[in-house]
Amino acid sequence: MKGSLIIVAFFILGVIAGRMEWLTIDKFGFDISFTALAMLMLCVGIGVGSDLGALRNLKTLDRRLLLLPLVTICGTLLGCLILAVIIPWRTIPETLAIGSGFGYYSLSSIFITQYKGPEPGTVALLANIAREIITLLGAPILLKLAGPLAPISSGGATSMDTTLPIISSVSGKEFVILSIYHGFTVDFSVPFLVTFFCSI
């Protein structure tokens, strides 16, 4: 929990810094987010590669677990569908389109802004950032409530990068490859599903 609080503290610090215009992302002159993400992925990769025990454990995982991306997509859409029926102010396809971001906030909000306007686009951005934050903060609780696959499923498209270290420490290193495979597959589905729900 201490680790999650530090993460939130850094996020809030960033919001304050951005709000006060102490610094902007453009000021760095290069894509610092991408650079940091690339370095993070290198570290995660080295961690996975150096731990052969984790890779050996992976072979003991059931093949049925390969259905996890499909489970995440269907579960998310089911949850959003139930919510969409309850909330009156937004149409069902729009809510499903926002849910189809699976945490991939940059791409989904750009898509939805383009198809449906800036208002649902903003909701998509916030909802998908929230999904990432829920996963970062709630991973230990999700593990207790619904087992080791829940943090991966909750992470959605981010289970291959930003939430991967949390998943690795909460669910276990033996779930890292499943998590990457899951993130990659869900990530790939985002443009197709968002476009589909925006067009109906």
Binding site: G14, R19, D62, R64, C74, L77, I82, L83
Partner: protein
């Protein structure tokens, strides 16, 4: 997207070459990078007038949608885990 995958694949290769060596600094670097990324995410959110103004009115709806998505997917993931575990014993630490 593919650049990131390629970088990670390189890392896996490097890690395999370095296997057996203790790298206590790796965890610390990983954590520091996560903090940097979350800080930058905050900077982006805080610097965008559209998002700051929207947080009040649209934030609740966004949270509802994300919670609904997380709840639905975790419910099914729980079912999948039970199904996968029912056939044979999956080794867990």
């Amino acid at each position: 997207m593919f650049t990131i995958i390629l970088i990670m694949a390189t890392g896996i290769g490097l890690g395999w070459l370095l296997r057996g060596r203790k790298m206590p600094f790796l965890g610390r670097i990983t954590n520091a990078l996560i903090w940097v990324l979350l800080f930058l995410l905050g900077v982006e959110v805080g610097g965008d007038e559209r998002i700051v103004n929207g947080i009040a009115s649209l934030g609740l709806e966004a949270i509802l949608i994300s919670v609904a998505g997380v709840a639905g997917s975790c419910l099914l993931a729980c079912g999948l885990w039970r199904w996968a575990r029912s056939g044979k014993e999956v080794k867990r630490k």
